[in-house]
Every structure is written in structure tokens, then in C-alpha cells.
């Protein structure tokens, strides 16, 4: 298999620009998640890769092939559509065997292969059922098996699990990831759910208004967001513009403490992101010069406790392991401090 490279891909619908200057290299066997809010161009990008839509400009290469010259039906791309798009006139096994039928594989052979694939996705013995007789999760598996049956060079999935309930979704995420590892097929998975992306992707590509904001491993985009949008989207809740004076870090003229090793010698105003787990809360003493906020909301999230504070109109979020009961109640005052060793400066 080969590397998929997109360079300067643009897509225009009339005067609306759905994709702007998309540059991306996807290695063989990689599992990529396209992550972004609704309408940011995820489906459009996937459809361009599949050949269902032409890019307005830019190039698309798979290894040495220029994909622009290859029509959709010759790209050998397995795609799971958001609506699943199973063939209603065919039964489960016939759906899975469809691509092999088109490729001229004889009936006995293709039904055997379909049966084996159905076994792999946990639908052994259901081949004779009409697709209308399956549950949502089962249909999902049929769509996956159908796309994989053609041994695709690229495996594309468009928000495949968004209609399923949380438990089933998690279960299928794990299964898809395992299956992808086993087959080694290059996979592009579209989702708007950052938790889903975090849990299955080798690399996450975050799209916003048709532009790639950042591409990186889950830990990279989570801990070191490249833009304020990514920081916000990935749930880095504490993003603010701080003043670096060389010996301390200030917010609105109040000191947040020493800059820590990573920001030593830094001057000027910079966007800083601090993950909620690196905030420290304590009881303020009289006349404290630090940031003092009011607790607005406290909630238990199973393994952690989340506390939301308001500091002069800014919102900060703090989390910690829930090994003891919350020490702050709504309305309490708390001194907010940051662990600047774990702060991340968003490049501007």
C-alpha cells in the first residue's frame, strides 16, 4: 500500500468555500481521524478522497498515481456512509458480496468470503437475513464488512457510530480499531466527537471551517494544541492571554507565579493553555494578590471532580481525582493557581 497525499486541496460550492488549502500526508496502514464540528468540511474531504466529488483545485496522489485521473469506481476505496447506504434489495450476505460480484468473483467463492467476513464482524449465520431485519449496530457491521470485502486500498468511514448509543459505540470503536490493526488497511474515520477520535486514532486531523487546524497524535493535539480552536475543541478549558515579564507570568496585572522551566526568558503577551488537571485551588487568605474566583458549579464525573470558577468574568475549570469529597461548594471563594511547568503556549 502507498501513501495518500493531499496538497493544496480546495473545494468550492458556488461562492462557498468548503475546503481551504488542505495539505495532508497519510501513511500506509495509518488510522486517521478527521475531527471537527458540523459543517466544517469533513464529509466533503472524505468524498473527494473517495472520488464522489472533485476538488476545485489541488492534487490528490496515492503513491505514484494521480487520483484525479481515476474515477470513483476504479479507486478501490471502501466507504461506510453516514446513512450506511445498504442495498435494500439484497440480503446481508449479498450486500457484503456485492463488490466481489462486480469484480467477477464467482458466486460460491464470493458468498464464502462474505460468510467469513460476517463471521469476523460478529454476524456469523445472519447472511440470509434481509438488511431491514437487523438492528442498528448489526447494520453498521454489515456496512463495514461490505466496504472491507473489496480489500480496499483506503477504508473511509463517515461518522459511522453517531447514531448508536454510547455503550455500543464504544464497543464498535474497539472492534474497528482491532480489525484495522489486523488488516493493516489505511483508514480515515470522520467524527465530531473528540473522545471517539482520542480513543481510536493514530493521528487526529482537526478541521475548522474547511481548514486543517492541526494534525498530530492524540496526545499532541490534547496536550499541545496548535491553535486556540484546537485547545477549545479538545477540551483544554483554560486558555488565556498572559503577560510574560521574564520573572513571572501575569494575567490582568496579577501574578500567576514563576514561568517555570519551559518559559524561562520569555517576554510579551502569549496565549497559554493549561489543562484543568493542572489548576490548583486553595482557600484564599485575606488580601491575597493572586487570582481569586467564585465557584459556579461542582460536579462529580465518576473518577474525577470538576469545579468551574468565575474569575472577573473568565471561566476556569479545575479537575482532580475524586478520592475525597469536594472541598469547595458553589459560591465559595477560591485562589486559582497554575502549574506553569505543565502550561502550553499556543503558537501565534
Amino acid at each position: 500500500m502507498a501513501t495518500l497525499s493531499l496538497s493544496n486541496v480546495q473545494k468550492q460550492f458556488g461562492s462557498f468555500q468548503a475546503l481551504r488549502d488542505v495539505n495532508l500526508e497519510i501513511g500506509s496502514g495509518e488510522f486517521i481521524c478527521l475531527l471537527g464540528g458540523s459543517g466544517c468540511g469533513k464529509t466533503t474531504l472524505l468524498r473527494i478522497i473517495a472520488g464522489l466529488e472533485d476538488a476545485t483545485s489541488g492534487s490528490l496522489r496515492l503513491g505514484d498515481d494521480n487520483l484525479a485521473d481515476v474515477p470513483c469506481h476504479k479507486r478501490n476505496v471502501g466507504m461506510v456512509f453516514q446513512s450506511l447506504a445498504l442495498f435494500p434489495h439484497l440480503n446481508v450476505a449479498q450486500n457484503v458480496a456485492y463488490g466481489l460480484d462486480i469484480r467477477g468473483v464467482d458466486k460460491a467463492e464470493r458468498l464464502k468470503k462474505a460468510g467469513a467476513l460476517l463471521e469476523t464482524v460478529g454476524l456469523g449465520g445472519l447472511g440470509e437475513r434481509p438488511v431491514s431485519a437487523l438492528s442498528g449496530g448489526q447494520r453498521q457491521r454489515v456496512a463495514i464488512a461490505r466496504a472491507l470485502a473489496i480489500q480496499p486500498v483506503l477504508f473511509l468511514m463517515d461518522e459511522p457510530f453517531s447514531a448508536l448509543d454510547a455503550g455500543l459505540r464504544e464497543h464498535l470503536q474497539i472492534e474497528v480499531k482491532k480489525l484495522q490493526r489486523k488488516l493493516g488497511v489505511t483508514t480515515i474515520f470522520v467524527t465530531h466527537d473528540q473522545n471517539e477520535a482520542m480513543s481510536i486514532a493514530d493521528r487526529i486531523v482537526i478541521l475548522n471551517e474547511g481548514r486543517i487546524e492541526q494534525a498530530g497524535t492524540p496526545t499532541e493535539v490534547y496536550a499541545r494544541p496548535a491553535t486556540p480552536f484546537v485547545a477549545d475543541f479538545m477540551g483544554t478549558n483554560n486558555v488565556f492571554e498572559a503577560q510574560f515579564t521574564g520573572h513571572d507570568v501575569q494575567l490582568d496585572g496579577r501574578s500567576l507565579g514563576a514561568p517555570g522551566a519551559s518559559f524561562k526568558g520569555l517576554f510579551g503577551r502569549h496565549q497559554v493553555a493549561v489543562r484543568p488537571e493542572y489548576l490548583r485551588l486553595s482557600r484564599p487568605s485575606e488580601g491575597d494578590a493572586g487570582l481569586v474566583g467564585t465557584v459556579e458549579f461542582v460536579r462529580l464525573l465518576g473518577a474525577s471532580i470538576e469545579t468551574e470558577l468565575n474569575v472577573d468574568g473568565r471561566t476556569f475549570v479545575h479537575t482532580r481525582i475524586s478520592d475525597s469529597p469536594p472541598e469547595f461548594q458553589v459560591g465559595d471563594k477560591a485562589l486559582v493557581q497554575f502549574d506553569m511547568d505543565h502550561a502550553w503556549m499556543i503558537p501565534s
Binding site: G51, A85, L86, H89
Partner: protein, 280 residues
């Protein structure tokens, strides 16, 4: 007790309508089909098989085959044209879709006689297409194109097109387009998508519109008489001819009963075929 009776009482309404408008006239027709014809009146009360016997002459046999042929050809042509037309219309921008749907509805409102007349004029030697073709030199000796079998088929198509197109409209507009795209990504060449995916998913709709048109065209009267030659006339025209023209109600009734049985037979056969098709 009273409450349980209410649903049944409501059911009486459609039953009553059926009896009044369908079963009643049908029963009367069946009864009349056994009467004797009376050259002076419409019929004489009797019980004879003679009217049915007449059907089994080569004359009626030929007419039956001819009716069958023109109705099935008409049905196939209408579906063949309306299906792709609607397929294109539903992917147009909303305003154009609306335009076409309104146009089709308007076409449905036209009476058979008006459509017939329009075609008679358009196909006539003195004022229509043949004259035009003669004038621009494409046709040396222009003749009227109507009446003819072809003209009659054109009339059939005009009659049935809008109805069939509108029958396809909801399912086509609401269909999941990604099913066709899925077929493409799985390697189906664009033309084969039609035969492999589109036609099979519309199979029930296509069959039912074929049956509807077939039955409808078996019963048309105006189009064959206005646009067809006597040798193209279908059973409906002949029945009217016998019952009204020759004042032979019993024969007309017997022919109608035979036509009805025949139609039911065809529908039954198609229904069985479609069930078998789904099972395989």
C-alpha cells in the same frame, strides 16, 4: 357491546361505497351478460351462454390480443419515459422541481378529448408536423401521421406520462442517494449502477406503475377512436360499439366480464412474479 360495535359500523362505510359503485354495477353486468339481445330494445330477460360463445370467434380473439398488445406496449413506453424523466427532475433545484410537478399536474387535468384533438392537429398534414417537414424540405410528400398506431401510442403516452411520473416522485425524491454512491465506491461502473442498484430498488414501484398503466390503457376509449385506425381499436371501443352502436347490451356485458377476468389474471400473474422475484 355498543363500543365494540362502533368499529364495525365505521367499516360499513367503505363497504357501502364498494357495493354502490362497484359490486352493484358489476352484478348487474354479469346478470345482463346472460340475457338475450333484442334488436328492438336493449335486451330480453333469459339465461343463455350465447354471448360468451361469441367471444370465441377469431374476430374477438384478434381484438383481445390487439388490446393486450397496445395496452402493454403503452404501459412499457410510459414507464420507460417517465422513470428517467422523474429521476432527472428530482435532482433539479427546488424551483425547477416545483415547475415540473405543477406542469405534470396540469397535464393530468387535461381531458382525454383535448389531448386527442391536440395530437390530431399536430400530426395532421394540413397544419402540423408533416406540413412543417414538407415546408423545410425534409419530407417530399407529407401525409397525415394520424390516425395510426404510432399516433395512438403517442396519445397513450401523453395520457399516462404525468400519472406515472408523479407515482415515482415521492420515492425518488426521498431515496437515499448514497446507495448509488456506495455502488460506485464498490466498483460499479456508472451505467451498471442503473441495472444493479437503481432498477432493483424501484422494482416494486415499476411493477405497480406497469400494472396501473396496463389496466388503464385496456380501458381507454377516446385515444383509439381519435388517433387510431379501426384495425387498432381495442376491446373497449368494440364493446361500446356493440352495446351502444348495435344496441346489444348482453354481448357488450359478456365481453366486459371476459375483459375483467382477463385483467385480473394478468395482475395476478404479475403479483406472483414479483413475489417470486423478491424471494430469490
Amino acid at each position: 357491546m355498543r363500543r365494540a360495535a362502533l368499529p364495525y359500523a365505521i367499516g360499513l362505510f367503505p363497504l357501502g361505497m364498494m357495493v354502490l359503485f362497484f359490486v352493484g354495477p358489476l352484478a348487474f353486468m354479469i346478470v345482463v351478460s346472460f340475457y338475450e339481445s333484442d334488436p328492438l330494445g336493449f335486451y330480453k330477460i333469459a339465461f343463455v351462454w350465447e354471448n360468451y360463445g361469441k367471444f370465441f370467434s377469431s374476430f374477438y380473439y384478434t381484438i383481445s390480443l390487439r388490446s393486450l398488445w397496445s395496452a402493454s406496449l403503452g404501459a412499457v413506453l410510459v414507464v420507460l419515459l417517465a422513470f428517467p424523466a422523474m429521476y432527472i427532475i428530482v435532482d433539479m433545484p427546488r424551483r425547477w422541481q416545483l415547475f415540473w410537478v405543477i406542469l405534470l399536474l396540469a397535464l393530468m387535468c387535461l381531458s382525454e378529448v383535448i389531448i386527442g384533438f391536440a395530437w390530431v392537429i399536430v400530426l395532421s398534414e394540413s397544419s402540423g408536423v408533416p406540413k412543417f417537414l414538407g415546408w423545410i424540405g425534409l419530407w417530399e410528400n407529407p401525409r397525415s401521421l394520424a390516425p395510426s398506431f404510432g399516433a395512438m401510442m403517442i396519445g397513450y403516452i401523453t395520457l399516462g406520462f404525468s400519472l406515472v411520473a408523479l407515482m415515482f416522485f415521492p420515492q425518488m425524491a426521498q431515496r437515499d442517494r448514497s446507495i448509488e454512491e456506495a455502488a460506485l465506491t464498490l466498483g460499479t461502473p456508472p451505467l451498471q449502477v442503473v441495472t444493479k442498484v437503481i432498477l432493483p430498488t424501484f422494482r416494486p414501484a415499476i411493477l405497480s406503475s406497469l400494472v396501473t398503466m396496463f389496466v388503464y390503457f385496456l380501458g381507454v376509449y377516446v385515444m383509439p377512436t381519435m388517433l387510431g385506425r379501426p384495425q387498432n381499436w381495442n376491446m373497449t371501443v368494440i364493446i361500446t360499439d356493440k352495446a351502444v352502436g348495435d344496441a346489444n347490451m348482453p354481448l357488450g356485458a359478456a365481453l366486459s366480464v371476459i375483459m375483467l377476468l382477463f385483467t385480473l389474471l394478468v395482475i395476478g400473474a404479475l403479483w406472483l412474479a414479483s413475489r417470486k422475484g423478491r424471494a430469490s
